[in-house]
């Protein structure tokens, strides 16, 4: 297992009660593993079926691998403008 830090924002940060959480995931891990680990934490039911995940400040699509040292963020529905 591997410890990964995940950034949270807005309604997700409120739900988890933190703007950063640490999750334990298999090594190697994918974005889906991170989301699955988040879902098991208190507040995890705020997450939709397929939340947006950004790695190193870019949106990911599909089964992307993640590893320690990357900037991983779960992105609530955006509402800029």
């Amino acid at each position: 297992m591997n410890q990964l830090q995940v950034l949270l924002f807005a309604s997700y940060a409120d739900a988890f009660g933190a703007s950063t959480v640490t999750v334990a995931v298999p090594d190697p891990a994918t974005v889906a593993d991170v989301v699955g680990a988040l879902r098991s934490l208190p507040g995890g039911d705020v997450l939709p079926e397929a939340p947006l995940v950004a790695v190193d400040r870019r949106y990911t699509r599909g089964p992307v691998a993640v590893h320690a040292g990357q900037e991983i963020a779960v992105i609530p529905p955006v509402a800029g403008g």
Partner: protein, 147 residues
Amino acid sequence: MIRTAITDQAINAAALLEEVTSDATGATTLFLGTVRDVNDGRAVTGIEYSAYTAMAAEELQRIAEEASLRFDGLRIAVEHRVGTLALRDVSVAIAVAHARRAPALETSRFIIEALKQRVPIWKREQYVDGDRQWVDPTTQHVSAAAP
């Protein structure tokens, strides 16, 4: 030219107009998003904008760069504000200039639509009754926020 920014300062729309207009441009467009007093039927007193600032800055820049590929000679300046805004405050300003109007108008539209879809910025509306809620455009209404 392209300049984009996420800022916690008041946006100076006139400065953005000045910045994009040049001797070679014949059409300048400005789009301003402002805080309005009613949303989803509730009286709004202000909006708190927050961002994943590092990514928002990069994504906004990527959008402007994508937009700039669609026409030659575009001049683009975009600022999005974060922090607590009052009624009528400008949350976003998109200034675009081009020799001709169609590229300027279409680029302005392209940028605001992409920004709303992609830039990681969130807003929590503050209501007359003191309640606050995060706005979720994907559900077309506001979702309950943690207290």
